[in-house]
């Protein structure tokens, strides 16, 4: 009898231990990213925790939205496989936000009806201005439904936090972004470039019918005024243009020390070839965030050597990798066959930031998630150490780099000398 009992107990223990062992194995493959130790494993979460994901999957902005969507899916798979949310699984409710404010509003309207804990997206800043208030704006506040936090991962327009606070009061605080606004990237880059390259005059060209490039242009101008650099020529073009020789001819003839360009990714390669090969300009070209695309410096498919001497400031770049971003970029490339760009990295970071907020709040309640989100501090991400500052703006170190022969080098006296051969 006794041995039978013992056997029974043994079998019982073995059956119980098996899944435990399996779980322990899961924990062994912890991703490098995550607040594993700062926040305890969530105990009260269970079932499905839904987050809304709305990026541009169609029309022109899909160029940014597709990598964003892929990165989010990759992050969610990691989060669920590693048991980051304990018993609960993170489920993405996905909507195509299209490329216009209207399609984004429609996507957000569908998402808030699904009782999501938070929403990640949309791709463009103007879409965010239009659609984010669906989750926390006047109508939502009046309806009495819970306000839902919205995390932007590519909205770089300056002053969105204050604009939302002005229009929607406390609801405005439900907007968070992990993407640095231009006002946090450009002034630093400009100062560094001017200092290192000894620039006194610049010519600027920008696309004047695009919100992103025009807003970056304004930040450039105020940053230049601040440090007393003279603007000797200003030229505009339209998004989608491919011939910039007339504008460049004017700017080059004004003989500036450097040319500042605020353009979207599709305009940059023709612009560089026309400036360098066609018109023979050899000076530095300082780019806005649009230049922060790995393809432009590619020898065969980008501008090749014509991209030499391009200086870019950005939230992230391959030039500055940490452990987490190396792991992510490798995994991303393996999964999707293309190198990760800053949009993918930011979307990946945003998803982990949201998941961390859910874990630390130990709750799927949107307001609890927001509170945890707002107190995100010193979180190690592919973008570096990430925090929200007192005004709710994202904070991490931006990076200035210079292109040489297809490589992004950190901008220093040495690398600049190497490129311009001083």
């Amino acid at each position: 009898m006794r041995s039978k009992n013992l056997l029974f107990v043994f079998v019982l223990i073995a059956t119980l231990a098996l899944p435990l062992g399996a779980m322990a194995q899961d924990d062994g493959e912890r991703p490098l990213i995550g607040a594993w130790d700062t926040c305890a494993d969530p105990m009260s979460l269970s079932g499905e925790v839904k987050i809304g994901v709305a990026f541009a999957q169609s029309e022109a902005a899909a160029i940014y939205g597709v990598p964003q969507q892929q990165a989010v899916e990759l992050a969610i798979a990691e989060i669920n496989e590693s048991g980051y949310l304990g018993e609960a699984t993170l489920v993405a409710v996905t909507e195509d936000a299209g490329s216009t404010p209207e399609t984004a509003i429609s996507a957000f309207t569908n998402l808030v009806a699904e009782d999501v804990s938070a929403i990640i997206g949309p791709t463009l800043s103007n879409q965010a201005m239009a659609a984010d208030p669906v989750a926390f704006g006047t109508e939502r506040q009046e309806s009495g439904d819970p306000l839902i936090p919205v995390v932007g991962v590519s909205n770089t327009r300056t002053g969105m936090e204050t604009d939302f606070a002005a229009s929607y009061g406390d609801g405005g605080a439900y907007f968070r972004r992990v993407s640095l606004p231009e006002s946090k990237v450009i002034p630093g880059t400009v100062e560094q470039v001017v200092d290192i390259l000894g620039i006194e005059t610049v010519g600027i060209m920008y696309s004047d019918n695009d919100q992103f490039t025009a807003s970056a242009y304004e930040v450039f101008v105020s940053a230049l005024e601040e440090i007393g650099v003279e603007i000797v020529a200003t030229e505009t073009f339209a998004t989608g243009d491919v011939d910039f020789t007339a504008q460049l001819t004017n700017i080059i003839a004004a003989e500036p020390d450097a040319i500042i360009v605020s353009a979207l990714a599709a305009e940059i390669v023709p612009l560089l070839e026309q400036a360098r090969s066609q018109l023979g300009y050899t000076g530095p070209i300082i780019g806005g965030n649009g230049f922060n695309t790995p393809g432009i410096a590619s020898e065969d498919r980008g501008a090749g050597t014509d991209a030499n001497g391009v200086v870019v400031g950005g939230a992230w770049n391959v030039a500055r990798q940490n452990e987490i971003s190396t792991a992510f970029t490798a995994k991303y490339e393996e999964e999707y066959g293309t190198p990760a760009d800053q949009f993918a990295v930011q979307a990946y970071t945003g998803t982990w930031v949201v998941a961390t907020a859910i874990r630390c709040a130990d709750s799927a309640d949107p307001t609890a998630v927001l509170e945890a989100l707002a107190s995100t501090a010193d979180f190690e991400t592919p973008l570096g150490t990430f925090s929200f500052d007192e005004e709710g703006l994202p904070e991490h170190e931006p990076v200035a780099q210079i292109i040489k022969d297809g490589q992004y080098l950190l901008l220093t006296e040495e690398s600049a000398a190497e490129v311009f051969g001083e």
Binding site: A166, N209, A214
Partner: protein
């Protein structure tokens, strides 16, 4: 009501989409007037922009209430239509279409650079004060409260429909129809061609301005980029696909074409493709549009035939 809106939402037509559908129905009606008079004008996207910006600037910067503001936007569009229509309506067909597209693009670029022009004027006139920022260039005007309600739009569509039905039977409508048939013949019958063409153009512009005012107070942000070539062509597509042989055709077209991509949302990246394919099939099999009276007549005939057959079956059953 709750049940209906839930059902609609489940196929992708949430409240916002339905509101947008009616705004586009108004825009589609606005182009119907000029098409009815045989004028291939695509200017309405420009008038929509004017209505939108004027009304939003009034509600945002000057604290006007919503209703007077959108009426002011409507009047502004009508006023600008007068000097545009007089020279442009002498053109015909594609020439008119492209010239009016030119108007749309010029309007867009003027709105885009409005602040720049004002600033330039200030420096030229040596004015001391800081030039105001009015249209805010490509960044657009943001934080616009959502004032456009579905009820207003439905009422507007009903009023405009009444106006359209009356128009068909009126002297005005008959004059436009005659002009569409043949301008020279119409003129020889003593119809003041220039007057009627311009009147239709201005009325269409006002309707577009009204639609613009509604759309401006719907999506919290307005930007010049929303009122270009693409929008001009979209408005035309609404009315042509809906059918221009009846007043209700454009309404149907505006509703259906706005709803279609939203209903197709679950197809993800294939949405755009299938949307285009559906459009092609529709136009190939219904060249008269959704509102083609002949189509509806045949539907009614088939329906009554079916009812007839069913009844006949019943009587047959009863007889047995």
């Amino acid at each position: 009501m709750g049940f209906i809106s839930d059902t609609l939402a489940s196929i992708g037509l949430n409240e916002f989409v339905i509101t947008l559908m009616f705004v586009n129905a108004i825009l589609a009606m606005s182009i119907y007037l000029t098409l009815y008079g045989g004028m291939f004008s695509l200017a309405n996207a420009g008038f929509m922009a004017i209505g939108s910006y004027v009304s939003v600037i009034l509600t945002q910067n000057h604290d006007w209430p919503f209703l007077p503001a959108i009426l002011a936007g409507m009047v502004a569009a009508g006023l600008i239509a007068i000097p545009i229509g007089l020279p442009v309506l002498r053109l015909r067909d594609i020439y008119l279409a492209i010239a009016t597209i030119g108007f749309v693009e010029i309007t867009r670029i003027m709105i885009l650079n409005f602040d720049k022009i004002i600033a330039e004027a200030y420096t030229r006139l040596h004015m001391e004060s800081e030039p105001p920022k009015i249209t805010n260039g490509p960044l657009g005007i943001t934080g616009i409260p959502v004032e456009t309600k579905l009820e207003y739009l439905v009422v507007t569509v009903i009023i405009l429909s009444y106006f359209m039905i009356r128009m068909h039977r009126s002297r005005f409508g008959r004059a436009l129809a005659a002009i569409r048939q043949d301008e020279n013949v119409a003129a020889s019958q003593g119809i003041n061609v220039v007057y009627y063409k311009n009147a239709a153009f201005i009325l269409g512009a006002m309707m577009a301005g009204l639609g613009g005012g509604f759309s401006g107070h719907l999506s919290r942000i307005i930007q010049p980029g929303s009122y270009g070539f693409g929008t001009a062509v979209d408005i035309l597509a609404y009315s042509v696909l809906g059918g221009i042989s009846s007043w209700y055709g454009p309404i149907l077209g505006g509703l259906a074409l706005t709803a279609l991509p939203e209903v197709l949302r679950p197809l993800k990246e294939y949405t755009g493709l299938i949307n285009g394919v559906v459009l092609l099939i529709f136009i190939a099999y219904l060249p008269g549009g959704l509102g083609d009276p002949a189509l509806w007549r045949s539907v009614r005939r088939n329906m009554s035939r079916m009812v007839h057959l069913i009844n006949k079956g019943k009587t047959a059953d009863a007889g047995a």
